[in-house]
């Protein structure tokens, strides 16, 4: 981690209420340039809500302060309606006003080895879930963002694909001045990939370097009885 890096995002006393239920309570944190910050928590902990709130999509109380003119790339968890629409990869990426040249470059950087001209004409509905997730990363990368907000990168992907998404993210992070904020319920992701973790179950439970703060007691508090502290073995 780079010391004394500039702060790109500052969140102070964030509260989100939805249908009279508190989803996020009193959350404060900072993201510095170059961080890979993970928000870890069980399903229903308010992780997706947090990302949407940061994007300015949901109403909230408290302070969310982004660095001036920061460019945000958002990778959503899933897009259930997209399979109803006959749309090619190229057309989908062009909804974000990407040029042909930019699409080609991003295709290279997300590691598609297929012949680009042919592949871009492919219908989104025909992609495997691993390919689709990479397209979502490509979507987020259009416009050269400073920070990526990534919602549950593991969802719906087989282990092989999952591994590729993380190597891909790691590669992108190493290559440029990318800051990454991802939310997940998957412990192994945090341990392998991020340098800072915030545990969230409606209210913040812990924060710090993953290997230091993710003690069995904390995880017990976060997830309840069943969780053991272990690292997924490598494949």
């Amino acid at each position: 981690m780079i010391k004394e890096a500039e702060t790109v995002l500052k969140v102070k006393n964030l509260n989100v209420v939805f249908d009279n239920t508190k989803i996020i309570e009193n959350l404060s944190f900072e993201v510095k340039k170059g961080d890979v910050l993970t928000v870890l928590g069980p399903n229903g902990a308010g992780k997706t809500v947090l990302l949407k709130t940061l994007l300015g999509v949901l109403p909230h109380e408290g302070e969310i302060k982004w660095e001036k003119e920061i460019k945000i790339g958002y990778v959503p968890q899933r897009l259930p309606f997209i399979k109803d629409i006959p749309i090619s990869i190229e057309e989908f990426l062009k909804l974000k006003e990407a040029s042909k040249k930019e699409i080609k470059e991003i295709f290279n950087s997300v590691g598609f080895k297929e012949s680009p001209a042919f592949f871009q004409k492919k219908k989104i509905g025909e992609l495997s879930s691993g390919q689709f997730q990479r397209i979502l990363v490509a979507w987020a990368l259009i416009g050269n963002p400073d920070i990526l907000l990534f919602d549950e990168p593991t969802t719906g992907i087989d282990i092989g694909g999952e591994e590729t998404i993380y190597t891909l993210l790691h590669r992108l992070w190493e290559k440029g001045n990318l800051t990454i904020l991802l939310v997940t319920h998957d412990l192994s992701v945090v341990l392998k990939f991020s340098n800072f973790v915030i545990c969230l179950n409606k209210c913040p439970i812990c924060r710090g370097a993953p290997k230091e703060v993710l003690t069995p007691e904390i995880l017990h508090k976060l997830y309840g009885e069943e969780v053991k502290f272990y690292e997924h073995h490598k494949h």
């Binding site: 949407k52 109803d84 629409i85 006959p86 090619s88 909804l95 025909e126």
Partner: protein, 254 residues
């Protein structure tokens, strides 16, 4: 002969525009909205028939009312679209037949394009052209909103503004469409060409273009058939559209 040509032109313009707009409405099941809206136009059509003014003009305020109702129901209550359809359908039909003489019911329910005059045809063609340009302008933004409203918002798309334009376009096409196929069949005029097009298309460009062409072709062949068989055009337009749909099932891609 001149009347026939006028009805043909009117039908093609409305059918094409409805098919084009239908491709936007097919995802997220927005076509379901065209059903209750169509039914709700019936009292308006009844008024127009009784007092002898334009059917679309009578239908329009009721479509607007319908859109406001749908907006309130969707936003303020957790009522399902099916329940909504049933309620609006029933009320629309019930109110219309309180005061519409049964002999005039046919026009209200399944349309009557043979009644179209010259100014009518001109006005409709102009409105459809304008509508087409508006839909073309908002097409990619609405597609993004259809894919994910959050994703659209995160890209800075003014979702409310685009949704308003979109609903406005739906209102106009429903009001115009009842002229051709009536309050009962308007949902089909929007939905079927789009569904056929989806079966045949590989990408968005083909999808929207084919929706437009199939809508226009259904109207064209339906009206031709009606003239030839001396039967009402509305049902034949919808049946032609259905016929195209059945053929498309054979050639369906993925």
């Amino acid at each position: 002969m001149e009347r026939f040509l006028l009805s043909l032109i009117t039908g093609i313009f409305i059918g094409g525009t409805a098919g084009y707009l239908g491709t936007l409405m097919l995802s997220k099941k927005m076509v379901l909205v065209a059903g209750p809206l169509g039914h709700l136009t019936l009292p308006g059509i009844a008024l127009a028939l009784l007092y002898g003014f334009d059917i679309s003009l009578g239908a329009f305020p009721f479509v607007i009312l319908g859109i406001i109702l749908i907006w309130i129901f969707e936003m303020r209550t957790k009522l399902s679209m099916e329940a909504l359809t049933a309620i609006i359908f029933a009320s629309g039909v019930a109110i219309a037949f309180l005061f519409l003489p049964i002999e005039q019911a046919e026009t209200a329910l399944i349309g009557n394009i043979a009644k179209v005059g010259f100014t009518d045809a001109l006005l409709v063609s102009f409105l459809c052209l304008l509508l087409f340009l508006i839909i073309k302008k908002i097409y990619s933004k609405i597609t993004l909103i259809n894919i994910s409203e959050d994703l659209a918002k995160s890209e800075g798309v003014e979702v409310k503004k685009y949704n308003l334009l979109y609903l406005g376009a739906i209102a106009i096409i429903v009001a115009l469409g009842v002229k051709v196929v009536g309050g009962l069949l308007i949902a089909a005029l929007v939905a079927i060409p789009a569904a056929t097009s989806r079966n045949l298309s590989k990408n968005l460009f083909q999808f929207s273009l084919l929706g437009l062409l199939l809508g226009a072709a259904s109207s064209l062949s339906g009206i031709l058939l009606a003239n030839f068989l001396n039967l009402p055009a509305g049902p034949l337009i919808i049946l032609t559209a259905t016929f195209f749909f059945l053929i498309s099932l054979v050639f369906r891609r993925g």
